[in-house]
């Protein structure tokens, strides 16, 4: 007679050990990112608090002179020039990237024949992969001279060139995410629109884009939050002259540009200039954090149920 197979007794084996251990290991991996995020935020908070012990908060957020790297009485910590610089670049980038990115997305999703799509999409991926330092040199060696040929008052380091190139850099983000959003609009509601006698443009603009709107708008917000945090292009092309202005032809400095300049220079550890880097970093982080929360909110709130 055969021995009945014993299924009840748990045999301690290699398989069982691994099975029990792996979930704990994966949890540790996930927690690692939580810990690093918390660690970074706490460091920012701590040093920023130290900064505001010496500099009145009101002076910081309303002051229009930023001379953080000067010494003694010459030091001024009004952050508005850095914010205006960042805004100039970001808004300019949006003006470039939103129409071109959305237009490309609409073309690829609704009009392009499959063969054309198979050529253009990879090229967009390549555009997305170009290192930002290369974009930065592209800005000063090609874009700035070109712009100066018909805008003579343009400074060599200026917000306009930087914002155009940052815009070019974020086009693939908008195009790709918006295209995904539009492609996931189901075929059946497009058919319904055609059945009512709509032209292709009417179907695209009045049915597909509105249905995909939450995905499209959150692609804008994500791309712009990337533009706010862009460092390399603005450091090379926009300048390091913090000026409170909204004139794109002037030389400016963004928040990120200041942080690079300060970090590369010789500042005394724990000096006020040093803490200023953290304060600006905190401000920058708040901007991008709010943008990301906004993107998530928009995505959830206007999620179309088909």
């Amino acid at each position: 007679m055969e021995q009945p197979r014993n299924m009840l007794q748990k045999k301690q084996s290699w398989r069982n050990t691994v099975e029990a251990f792996i979930p704990k290991f994966l949890l540790i991996c996930a927690l690692l990112s939580v810990f690093t995020t918390v660690g970074i935020i706490l460091t920012l908070l701590f040093e920023t608090a130290g900064f505001f012990e010496k500099v009145p908060f009101l002076d910081y957020i309303t002051g229009t002179t930023w001379t953080a790297l000067f010494s003694g009485d010459q030091q001024k910590f009004g952050v508005l020039p850095l914010i205006s610089g960042t805004l100039l670049v970001t808004v300019g980038a949006a003006v470039v990237a939103v129409p071109i990115g959305l237009g490309s997305a609409i073309y690829l999703s609704e009009y392009a024949p499959e063969r054309v799509r198979q050529i253009i999409k990879p090229i967009l991926e390549i555009l997305a992969g170009i290192p930002t330092i290369v974009y930065g040199f592209f800005a000063i060696t090609l874009v700035t001279p070109f712009l100066r040929s018909f805008i003579p008052q343009l400074n060599f380091f200026n917000a306009l060139s930087a914002s155009i190139v940052v815009g070019i850099m974020i086009i693939p983000m908008i195009a790709s995410l918006s295209e995904d959003a539009m492609r996931s609009v189901p075929k059946n509601i497009r058919e319904a629109a055609y059945g009512l006698g709509a032209t292709k443009l009417e179907v695209v603009l009045k049915i597909v884009v509105p249905a995909a709107l939450s995905g499209i708008v959150s692609s804008f917000v994500l791309a712009l939050s990337r533009a706010i945090g862009e460092t390399m292009i603005v450091t090379i092309a926009a300048g390091s002259n913090p000026t409170f202005t909204f004139d794109p032809t002037s030389t400016i400095q963004t928040m990120t540009g200041f942080m690079v300049q300060a970090a590369m220079g010789d500042i005394t550890y724990e000096s006020l200039s040093y803490k200023a880097i953290y304060a600006v970093g905190m401000t920058l982080f708040l901007f991008t954090f709010v943008m990301n929360m906004l993107a998530q909110y928009i995505s959830r709130r206007f999620k179309e149920e088909y």
């Binding site: 509601i189 058919e191 319904a192 059945g195 009512l196 006698g197 509105p210 179309e304 149920e305």
Partner: protein
């Protein structure tokens, strides 16, 4: 005045090499219900879609022959396909309301065809929703999302949406196959009312439905029109053996 709403003359349709519709000729009567029946893949939906040129959107499709509405071949170059589709509306198998409000769903058609006047729009929308027997159920929540309605309500909304562009012909592609029996009965009743004002062509998988609601029935098989006759005659004394085999359930 002709009794024919649509006159189909030697229609052939090819999907690439596949000869999907073979020499179809038939006349569809005005203000009546014509049912198209046949087994899966026989071409009845393809044929339905030739009547409003929805097949145009399939790459590689080729159409020969004529389909005349008001003595004009709808496949001629001079015809604006958008105007054709305004005149020949379509209701699809699974309800497909737009992810918009009930009001905006019905208003979409009239708006794209140029109607902007709010008062006229309101009247047209009420008329269309009444015509689809759903006005009372939605009149207090026109601003609500259409996707919140039940399946049967959504399908009646789609009918209202089609009626809003004031077509002469209504094409229905298995409109009740995704619905429960009660909603199905409501829509069948609606079709009987609608036929007094519209010409209705309905594809159905359900022979009992065809027998219940249609005036004439056309039986398709592998791309051929086998038989086309008054419904009562086709179901009681079919002229062709294939028709008889299908309606008695020997295949399907």
């Amino acid at each position: 005045m002709s009794q024919q709403a649509i006159s189909v003359d030697n229609l052939n349709l090819y999907y690439g090499q596949n000869h999907a519709l073979k020499n179809i000729s038939m006349d569809i009567d005005k203000n009546s219900v014509t049912a198209l029946i046949g087994p899966s893949g026989c071409g009845k939906s393809t044929f339905l879609r030739t009547l409003n040129r929805m097949n145009d959107m399939i790459p590689g499709v080729k159409i020969e022959g004529q389909i005349n509405i008001h003595n004009q071949n709808i496949y001629s170059d001079q015809v604006h396909v958008e105007m054709l589709r305004k005149n020949v509306g379509m209701v699809f198998q699974a309800p497909n309301p737009f992810p918009k409000s009930i009001y905006d769903n019905v208003a979409y058609g009239p708006r794209i065809h140029g109607l902007r006047d709010k008062k006229k729009l309101d009247e047209l929308i009420e008329k269309s929703l009444r015509g689809a027997a759903i006005w009372d159920e939605v009149k207090d929540r026109l601003k609500d999302k259409a996707t919140g309605l039940s399946g049967g309500q959504q399908q009646r909304l789609c009918i209202a949406r089609a009626l809003a562009v004031e077509p002469e012909v209504l094409l229905m592609d298995e409109p009740t196959s995704a619905l429960d029996p009660i909603s199905t009965a409501k829509i069948e009743e609606l079709i009987q009312e609608l036929k007094t004002s519209y010409t209705i062509v309905i594809v159905t998988h359900n022979m009992q439905q065809a027998a219940r609601i249609s005036d004439k029935t056309a039986f398709f098989l592998s791309g051929d029109l086998i038989e086309y006759n008054k419904t009562e005659q086709l179901f009681s004394t079919p002229k062709h053996k294939q028709t008889e085999d299908y309606i008695t359930g020997r295949f399907g």
